[in-house]
Symmetry: C2
Subunit: 600 residues, 2 copies
């Protein structure tokens, strides 16, 4: 079937004089999660992982994917003529390298410029020009081939009350216009779906896990145009009240970009990181483009008081659900019930679903027992699902979208008797997590600084974890949100991370991953707050937003300092205070029990 | 007298049609220490501090200096018509702001472009053009006025044996040429005196504390020209052997720059940070200038094995001298001898001078008792000198240039009975110092990361010290050497510090400064070394290079963790091992005593 599809694709390419075709995994907005409509790479390759690029030439086909998917991809590519390209392995070229090195003078590379990020597109353009080759960026590989392609679904979005959003749309647009003016531009194109949702105080349901809707937004110095397929009268009237014009989503690439070119006198403010190549190509060559982070990306990272209050409510609701799950889990294990990764994952979802303001998971739940825990992005499927055994860890990383906000929490549970080595590592993760949560720092610190405060414990043992210590989190928005994040490394030639400011919400999630053995991660969402201003300057710190008890059983108490024990006990007191009013009966008893202070 | 000089200057300005004149504190190379020849600002203002800029207009005169010198400058300006401009105080403009805001259309600003850094010069050029004003950059304010101006003295430099330098001149130039080629340039101008000394394996004595000689160096793809006033036959023959042509120092600005312009076909590699404005203006406008750090600046920061061995020898010699001083100090205090900051400073110098390979101090000794310790850059003079009293700290920050290398050490001595609060702060500084010295980190860390490892102890108490935690140190070169340094802050729009690599030498010197009360600083020079490479990656750490006991008396032992006590004891064992062979009799007994392990 795959080979048939490739044959059709090659025929189509041939007709259009295209020798090479690239099919990435992306939508028009660079979103993290994709609607089915965008699963073009899946269609042509049979590979269903969340990341990968298919490259098809007249003779060959290659699927590029990363370490998370080597096994799955090898399996799914069986029987096809597609070669698996293991990204990051020695000797494996990058997608651009393969194409640029293989393409012959005069040949054409085709792709759909709407699903290729601008940097990749511009790079191809430059490199291929040097080889006297060209790029065809309006080549849609699916046209006439993928006959039962699912349509793009435009679900009805909803409006956030200003009491929840904390700031009116008009105020947000006013602040954005000040920034446009500062950057000497009069037009601003917003392509990031979460930024559009934030600016308009609206949320949607077009993308899995992310409460956003398909749209482009154009802000000029005197009007705002939303390109989105909305026909609900209330929403249309809401938009009108906010002086927002509406156009069809499909009109953006042609009519929208034409009007942008006509409107601008000074220049266009556009965050190229998120913009696709087709947009870049649609901008008149005489027009100045200021490539900077969207003003809204930074603004939405600094949560306002309403948002913070609501995020706390969401986390209280979420914490109560997770505590009820924890109690159920402990009992089920004590009763030797037959549990698997998928069954506990479903059970956890069911506790969240009981809450009326719960909308959906904020990402696909990771429930990993034993050696599965060492696979950082493991997600149990019917094929991989294993039983919850004994004498190891069960790592659960999950979160919810609630009417009030977004949650993300990881707890690792010691199941059965946990060996000394495992306890040591569990305690190591806990120390790192608590240290960052309780770190007091001067204004001016960036995520690069904050990361090593947690990582120090690992480095001192000559160990490390191969992911950042934290990511920004949206307010009823994407669970992964920039620009704030906690990552130590500043690659050569790159800018450091943003300076931390009160109102930023970030996860704190160090981890241990021992291949083929076990994985441990403890994740607490944190709010950046001001602690004091004195003669030395201004000091910031963090306040926990996740209220979920940390399993005390696997702790190696001798390895904790008095201060660390105090930090853990303080955290558990906060959890108790926040959750006690939400729980009753045995659940409440359970909460009181697991939040009892740890003593030497 | 000052007013007379200013009158003469104004007459001269008037003749040349100059309305404003700027006299900074600088030599032709942006050196930290100045030869007397360059003390033009002192001559016209009477102010003798190490930093400041004099601005003279036809009507007014202003001296800009920083907080270290407010009192001294106010005093020295008395009786002159010069207004003191306290830099950094609210409402006080910057030098450029004052001039740009005050100058009228069509007026001229004059200065000697050889003592103005290129950034300042270019900034004036741009800002003044906008006001239809112009810059005269060959205006020498001293000509015909400073009649007894001391001449520039060109002392005979000396050659470092390649066994000391560890790398031949030819090899260094070859490495630099590879970098020039990489940057697509064929000419490289080196203006930094320490870089020139390092490249040529030569040292000099033209600048106080810095073992360098006045020179410019031009490296092209096929020749090397040294502009320096050298007439010693041995050195001339050494240069000839290394294929280095020699021209008079004075020829550089005219003949040298003309030849540079003729030589280059591809472009000039020039570190503008250290280059003066006159050099920039002498480059043909059609010539590409690649503004990057001198390749030699980075190369000389990574000390080679010979340099490291020699630096260790210098530190052993220095440590032995300081231990002998310490013993003398303790006895003198016990005997109630009459001691002052200056007298102990001289005594310390006399111990260093006993060593035959000692050359000179590597910077002016800071010997500060009590409240003087809180002034970070305090240097005792006849006017400020006070007695060494009791029940406070004596802070001594000093270092030497030895034939084998450069040292820099700060120790703080508790004199008499030290109160609990002082002990706490002393121990705080010690904890921070030891933590950084013993920090294990992954390759990729920059000084920005390393700084907060030490500073964390201060921040957790809501305190800070207003200087970096460490600076790079030369190998028988400048005691302040880039590009490595340990400073946490990355100002907006600036690049982070360089990545730490084995061979870099940096100080570790946290401090406490309580205004009008006391100051504490503990400084240990450290060598970056590789600790291990394992499945997680490569880990680096530090090895101490300073071998001087740390006063145990003011330690608050309850505040130290077991690990910190172990670190201190390990350090003292290293000091004992290194110094014992250098000491005898009572000095050796003293060493054994003060390096005894600290016990709870």
């Amino acid at each position: 079937m795959i080979n048939e599809r490739l044959t059709k694709l090659r025929g189509k390419m041939s007709k259009e004089g295209i020798r090479w075709c690239m099919i990435p995994t992306c939508d028009y907005h660079g979103s993290e999660y994709l609607a089915d409509y965008y699963k073009v790479r899946d269609f042509f390759s049979g590979f269903t992982g969340s990341a990968g690029t298919l490259v098809v030439s007249q003779n060959d086909a290659y699927l590029f994917t990363d370490g998370r998917y080597f096994i799955q991809a090898a399996d799914q590519l069986k029987g096809s003529s597609i070669q698996l390209m293991k990204m990051g392995e020695p000797g494996v070229p990058k997608v651009t390298e393969l194409i640029i090195n293989s393409i012959n003078k005069g040949e054409k590379l085709g792709f759909d410029g709407r699903v290729v990020d601008s940097e990749t597109g511009l790079n191809f353009e430059k490199e291929l020009e040097a080889k006297e080759c060209s790029v065809i960026y309006d080549f849609d590989p699916t046209e006439g081939i993928w006959e039962d392609r699912p349509g793009l679904v435009y679900n009805k979005p909803f409006i956030l009350d200003v009491k929840v959003a904390g700031e009116s749309v008009k105020s947000k647009i006013e602040r954005i216009r000040l920034k446009m003016d500062e950057k000497k531009t009069d037009v601003h194109i917003v392509t990031a779906l979460d930024d559009i949702a934030w600016i308009l105080n609206m949320r949607g349901n077009d993308v899995e896990n992310n409460p956003v809707f398909f749209a482009f937004l154009v802000i000029t110095d005197n009007k705002v145009v939303l390109y989105a397929n909305i026909d609900d009268r209330d929403i249309l009237s809401y938009l009108a009240q906010n002086d927002i014009e509406i156009e069809k989503y499909e009109e953006f690439f042609e009519k929208g970009m034409q009007s942008v070119n006509i409107c601008t006198k000074k220049g266009i403010l556009l965050d190229k990181t998120g913009a696709n190549y087709k947009i870049i190509k649609a901008i008149g060559s005489n027009i100045a483009v200021i490539d900077e982070m969207n003003p809204s990306t930074y603004m939405k990272a600094i949560k306002n008081e309403c948002e913070i209050e609501n995020i706390k409510i969401a986390n209280i609701k979420d914490g109560a659900a997770v505590v009820r799950f924890d109690r159920w889990l402990k009992e089920a294990i004590a009763n030797n019930e037959n549990l698997t990764e998928l069954s506990v994952s479903k059970k956890l979802a069911s506790f969240r679903e009981e809450n009326e303001s719960y909308i959906e998971p904020s990402f696909d739940t990771i429930a990993a027992f034993g050696y599965h825990g060492a696979i950082v992005h493991y997600e149990p499927t019917a094929e991989t699902d294993i039983q919850i055994g004994r004498n190891s860890f069960l790592l659960i990383d999950s979160g919810g979208q609630y009417a009030e906000g977004t949650t993300d929490v990881t707890r690792t549970y010691g199941i059965g008797e946990v060996a000394t080595k495992l306890k040591h590592d569990y305690t190591l993760v806990l120390k790192a997590n608590l240290k960052l949560l309780n770190f007091k720092f001067m204004k001016g610190c960036r995520g690069n600084h904050l990361d090593i405060v947690a990582r120090d414990f690992f480095w001192s043992e000559g160990r490390d974890y191969k992911h950042g210590t934290g990511h920004g989190i949206g307010a009823l928005l994407n669970v992964h949100e920039g620009p704030n994040n906690i990552r130590w490394n500043i690659p050569e030639g790159k800018q450091p991370g943003v300076i931390y400011e009160p109102g930023m919400v970030t996860s704190d999630e160090p981890g241990v991953y021992i291949e083929n053995e076990y994985g441990i991660r403890t994740e607490t969402d944190m709010l950046c707050v001001e602690l004091e201003t004195n003669e030395y300057g201004t000091f910031y710190g963090f306040e926990p937003l996740t209220y979920v008890p940390i399993d005390k059983k696997p702790i190696e108490i001798e390895y904790l300092s008095d201060e660390e024990i105090r930090w853990l006990n303080n955290y558990h007191m906060t959890v108790r205070e926040k959750l006690a009013p939400m729980l009753r009966g045995k659940d409440l008893e359970y909460l009181m029990d697991v939040t009892e202070p740890l003593k030497r």
